[in-house]
């Protein structure tokens, strides 16, 4: 099978660098998968799960809170603001963040605070889901 070069960078480190077979990302207008010889694409993606099938066909799962993906000539570059393996997720912290966000949503504040709380809630729910389903 032909391999694709993938590089995932986050603000704190290069999280993944290596050859893979395929990757699926939670794109803004629908999740999509990238295989060998994919057309050049630049897309943003949302809170969700990134699934990678590496060159040995092992599945790797990451929880992400959104970012962008660039595919060009079988090279993929992912810029993600946060990225966690299921086993790295602190479930207690996620639960707490979820409760906190719910509380903030319940107490009607300014519009911008509401949207921020909503995003925080979604991130927390995503973390919990990934942690429960994949570890």
């Amino acid at each position: 099978m032909k391999e694709i070069k993938l590089e995932i960078v986050t603000p704190s480190k290069t999280a993944f660098s290596g050859a893979i077979n395929s990757i699926s990302v939670p794109g803004t207008s629908g999740a999509f998968q990238v295989l060998y010889n994919h057309a050049p694409i630049l897309s943003s993606f949302e809170i969700g799960v990134i699934k990678i099938s590496d060159s040995n066909n092992n599945e790797l799962i990451f929880a992400t809170s959104g970012g962008t993906i660039e595919v060009l000539e079988n090279k993929i570059l992912i810029l993600a603001e946060s990225l966690e393996r299921p086993k790295e997720i602190d479930i207690n912290r996620a639960e707490k963040a979820k409760d906190r966000a719910k509380e903030r949503l319940a107490s009607k504040g300014k519009e911008i605070d509401q949207s921020r709380a909503e995003a925080a809630l979604q991130r927390a729910i995503n973390r919990i889901k990934v942690s429960k389903n994949y570890s």
């Binding site: 960078v9 986050t10 603000p11 704190s12 480190k13 290069t14 794109g27 803004t28 207008s29 999509f32 057309a39 050049p40 694409i41 630049l42 897309s43 943003s44 959104g66 970012g67 962008t68 660039e70 060009l72 570059l77 810029l79 603001e81 946060s82 911008i112 921020r116």
Partner: protein, 292 residues
């Protein structure tokens, strides 16, 4: 004239201080190495995000994102990045002086109308300005003890919200750039509105598929760009602080060494003088006995 014991006590005191400064220097050196690693780790992300963004923005000139919008400047925000701890030479004073000169000279008109707000990152700057006649937007003392990406995001959200609400029309930052261990540069940079990237590399045009579309990608990238910018900036300042502390503590250790040397000489002279007087006393005593 100091007595022998006084000098001895001082030598002991200076030696203790020297031990402390030496230890602080070593701690700063160890932390600096980690801080430098963090900078290196953060670099790919910030570089790529700038690359992608400038590429997109060269394709889409009129994006109309409010974060890019220049408007009449009525209110200015100034973010100043100082450290939480002292003993790092002129690190904080440089920032404070630069801020004062900016506020009172360059932005004197805004200062008159009370239209300039300070955001003090780090305890030292906050402590300095909160007692003076300056308008403080917010202070963030103690953030460097647990510096992480969320800290930067939180900071960005603060001034970004104010900018979007029209409470601020321009936001600048003053910080120390890490040049080398010995050298820090004071940088004043505009954060908002985001300045269009001037360096556009005319590479071969690739026919990308944009999903959902260029505008949405730009809009989702801009806030991330701000976050990453603040993050690298905080890391830079932290490394600069440690570098400054290392140099300052190294100098303090050297000074202590010099001081101990002069004190030792003084001590020996004093000791010799005492011995000489003692001998003189004995000899004159013996002579007096002989004469009898």
């Amino acid at each position: 004239m100091a007595t022998l014991r006084d000098i001895k006590n001082r030598i002991v005191g200076v030696k203790n201080t020297q031990k402390i400064t030496k230890a602080m220097k070593m701690v700063a050196a160890a932390r600096l190495r980690r801080a430098q690693e963090n900078i290196i780790n953060a670099r790919p992300y910030s570089r790529k995000i700038t690359e992608v963004l400038s590429h997109l923005m060269s394709l889409e000139k009129q994006s109309g994102n409010p974060l890019l919008q220049e408007r009449e400047v009525k209110k200015i925000g100034l973010v100043l990045v100082t450290s939480d701890r002292g003993l790092c030479g002129s690190f904080n004073m440089n920032i404070i002086n630069k801020t004062i000169s900016l506020v009172n000279e360059d932005f004197a008109d805004y200062k008159k109308n009370d239209a300039i707000e300070l955001f003090c990152v780090g305890k030292k700057g906050f402590d300095f300005f909160k007692t003076k006649n300056y308008r403080i937007g917010n202070g963030y003392p103690g953030i460097f003890s647990s510096l992480n990406y969320e800290t930067a995001v939180m900071l960005v959200n603060e001034y970004k919200t104010k900018f979007l609400n029209g409470d601020l029309d321009k936001v600048y930052v003053v910080y120390n750039e890490f040049k080398s261990v010995m050298q820090q540069n004071i940088i004043v940079k505009q954060l908002l509105p985001i300045l269009p990237q001037t360096e556009h590399q005319e590479e071969k045009e690739t026919d990308y598929i944009f999903e959902p579309d260029k505008l949405s990608i730009i809009n989702s990238l801009l806030p991330r760009y701000l976050n990453s910018q603040m993050w690298t900036l905080l890391l830079d300042s932290y490394a600069a602080e440690l570098g400054a502390r290392m140099t300052a503590m190294d100098m303090a250790t050297e000074n202590a060494k010099e001081l101990i040397r002069t004190l030792n000489i003084q001590y020996n002279k004093e000791r010799q003088a005492t011995i000489t007087t003692e001998i003189l006393e004995i000899v004159s005593g013996a002579n007096a006995l002989k004469e009898q």
